[in-house]
Symmetry: C2
Subunit: 499 residues, 2 copies
């Protein structure tokens, strides 16, 4: 794989001087066009030490408009980053649509280095690479252009180069002990890197291997690749979009999982009061213990309008300390949120260690309201299932408790509640004409909910269905599940809480 990047390619000063001015002009122009475009550009710079990675990045900043270009270098994670899943530090700095982000060191660095140093096995590497593929697919499916450069040097060339840098007093600082340590592991590094590149050279975001020996050659080559790939994408986006055929859909099953729920379940006032006290008391102790042991939790609530999500949330938060949780209501995204992948706005709210985030409506909006109302295209919501499962898997692998609730009522009960709300002074604002319109689409929502349950019900993040025609029954059932979830997550010390 790397053999093609050991050919000793060079570019003469004359050729460079002839090409450089035009390339700069074109890069600036393409960057200007990009500002109006609806996709972000992510440039990943990886490769062998001393092969000109940082020089190239600096040159790109010189050539392009640095105001719309942001380079992120990833050193050791900060404590705020360590407290979240690994991908969080990358999600928080992903460029918005129309901008370019350069990632120096990226999601590839740690899996490769860990494997080279023997911290992890090849199987761990493969598993990490599969996760990377899923992550990049999530971004490219959303339109992101990912350009991946791997800077290569032969073993001999690298040694020569490192020695050269050390000789010159103005460049010596750039060669660290780590560089020499890496060099000693050259062959292992080469093997592991090749495996990584092979596995992650997908059709949509293949690796481009850059021969790093000649500065002029690599600079012009990288610049041209960036220019061509962005130009090509801009041209595609301007061309009439061909509708992507949606994947074939299974026939709708008229009998659904939600139909199996017994909505007549109920509790007497006396029993409710007693159980409420019991489970709130238990949750209070459990949430304090989780705080101390730095175990985070995410509780998420989906369900029909007026199903009583808010009421359940209030009973749960009443048992917790207001300093330790936040409730995030999901409504229309802000413009910063709209300029990113739809999951970005949820990554923003991943709790710190020991804290709880409660989502009142969630990322499942993509496959519920956005699907039914046509805000997302069929291919968008179809692929959302696996994006969501991936996302939730990352949360669970970080040791975060994730509890997903579907709060269920039937159509008659919803109508009763809408009518009651109109009579309650401080609740009447909760009824909008939209709520009534949504009732007409009950069946569509039901189908969407059933498909959602089927496709996102995983072993590590199952759904909890709450029969909620009786509010009291619903609250107690949910509280009981929350308590059991906290208990299990605290007991299960085998859960890999990486940092």
């Amino acid at each position: 794989m790397f053999e093609t990047a050991e050919l000793g390619r060079t570019l003469s000063k004359k050729e460079y001087d002839a090409q450089e001015p035009l390339l700069r002009t074109q890069l600036l122009e393409v960057q200007e066009d990009l500002k109006q475009a609806s996709f972000p550009v992510i440039i990943i710079i990886g490769g062998v030490d001393g092969a000109g990675k940082s020089e190239t990045i600096n040159l790109l900043h010189e050539w392009m408009d640095a105001r719309y270009l942001q380079t992120h270098a990833f050193g050791p994670p900060t404590d705020e980053e360590r407290e979240r899943p690994q991908a969080w530090r990358f999600w928080r700095v992903l460029p918005p649509r129309g901008r370019i982000g350069i990632f120096f060191g990226s999601w590839y660095t740690r899996p490769i280095i860990d494997c080279v140093y023997g911290v992890t096995e090849i199987a761990d590497l493969d598993s990490a690479l599969a996760q990377i593929n899923a992550f990049e697919k999530t971004l490219t499916d959303d339109g992101a252009l990912i350009i991946k450069f791997w800077f290569h040097l032969s073993k001999q060339a690298q040694q020569k180069r490192l020695r050269g840098l050390v000789k010159n007093s103005s460049t010596r600082w750039r060669v660290t002990k780590t560089d020499w340590k890496h060099f000693k592991l050259y062959d292992k590094f080469r093997g592991v890197s090749e495996r990584a590149l092979r596995t992650t050279s997908t059709g949509t975001s293949p690796w481009i291997i850059i021969e790093g020996t000649d500065e002029r050659y690599r600079s012009i080559t990288v610049g041209n690749h960036i220019l061509n790939l962005i130009s090509k994408r801009l041209a595609e986006n301007n061309a009439t979009r061909i509708a992507i055929a949606a994947p074939p859909r299974a026939q709708e099953d008229p009998y659904t999982l939600l139909d199996t729920l017994d909505l007549s379940e109920s509790l007497t006032d006396a029993k409710y009061k007693k159980l409420l006290e019991k489970y709130q008391g238990r949750l209070n102790l459990l949430s304090r213990e989780a705080k101390e042991r730095r175990r985070s939790a995410i509780l998420l609530f989906e369900g029909w309008d007026a199903a009583g999500k808010g009421g359940i949330i209030r009973r749960a938060t009443a048992a917790m300390d207001a300093r330790d949780y936040q409730v995030i209501p999901i409504a229309a995204p802000t413009d910063e949120e709209r300029a990113h992948h739809y999951l970005w706005r949820f990554w923003r709210h991943i709790p710190r260690a020991g804290r709880v985030t409660i989502f009142d409506r969630t990322w499942y909006g993509r496959v519920l309201v956005e699907r039914v109302e046509g805000f997302a295209t069929e291919s968008e919501w179809q692929r959302a299932y696996s994006e969501i499962v991936d996302f939730e898997q990352q949360l669970r692998e970080h040791g975060i408790l994730l509890l997903k609730f579907w709060v269920h009522i039937d159509m008659d009960e919803q109508l009763r509640r809408f009518e009651a709300r109109q009579l309650t002074p401080y609740k009447h604002y909760k009824i909008t004409p939209e709520d009534l319109r949504n009732r007409e689409k009950w069946h569509d929502y039901e189908l969407a909910a059933n498909e959602m349950l089927a496709r996102t019900w995983t072993e590590f993040a199952p759904w909890h269905l709450i029969e909620a025609n009786d509010k009291k029954f619903a609250r107690i059932k949910a509280l009981k599940i929350i308590c059991a979830g906290f208990e299990e997550n605290l007991q299960n010390l085998r859960a890999p809480a990486r940092d």
Copy 2:
């Protein structure tokens, strides 16, 4: 001061039960109205340990809609917080307009505790309190409603309460060693707190002292205060706004500071090339040293359109490592930025330790374009001068290098550049009809710039005026100043870099 909160006020269960349901309804209603309002509500909860602070916060979450209420508790700062000025951790979580943020522990905690424990002197406390007053004024001037509660207990009552909590196994966990340590310092704490409250009880955000002994009394009292203060503010905002009389203005001085600049200054190509190499080399070394020594820098550029700000920035960044700086172009704010104080969007970009942020246009837009174009009211831009000086002082006190540049050309030179841009293919996008319109307001901008220079030129953050009719001269002068600034900031180890 606290004597009035040692009267043994109580509320009977009967009275409480009579008042509570209505209060809750009204709080929900007022919260609903607030969502549409153009101001945020900041509730600060401070006071004696064991006086019911956390119970009250939890109760407020129970009473109100927790989805639009966010409580922030401030423990030890994270490393990301330590690397910025102290106020950064508060700015990053200020509620947007229409929302309520509860601050449990706040900008008061550290100055008071440090003084009680003898870490700092009374003079330091006074200085911190003056800064707090300026900070709160900045927020209230922008419309924020700040409600400050101080929960008080007499010494005797506190002792009794702590003992009571310890006796009960379900509350014992809440009494920590720190609580007893604080208790031993009760008298000192009382004295220091009184001084703090007295100094910061301003007309716009006075402290409300709450007698903490009786739970029912303090709950209803706090709830009523919140209800009344938000209602009152909502009513005021709905009433016809009375125009606030602008402060009297000094007569305009036709002879301005900018007139004193010698715009004929220039450099030959040869000299430019030589000096550019010299200062870029120096800046490269200096910025590396600053990175190592974790000294941050903020460079900001204001000046006429086409004055060459971008060109200077490019010459500076060419000497730095792209991993260590970011260039922030200031254009229209995003809607999240618009929902906060205008300084919030700049606080977001305060660099981490050792990094550099370069602003291409800045917070000075408030007193330049927003003033001239009428986007800010006279009282808004008038008070911006001191808000900005305060902000910059905080940056400097944290040891951040702050260099402010005004890049100056005359009207003829600007026209020449506009015309030249229209002929350069990759620059023509830089000319908009707005640019030409702005030329008509040259004189207004000149006056605004001169007043800005006069009022924000401080000892700790002076302006640097760059004669820029000759681009080469301008770039070298700016680079020289940047080098000198880095040098001075590195040498000056006495600069108080607090953490």
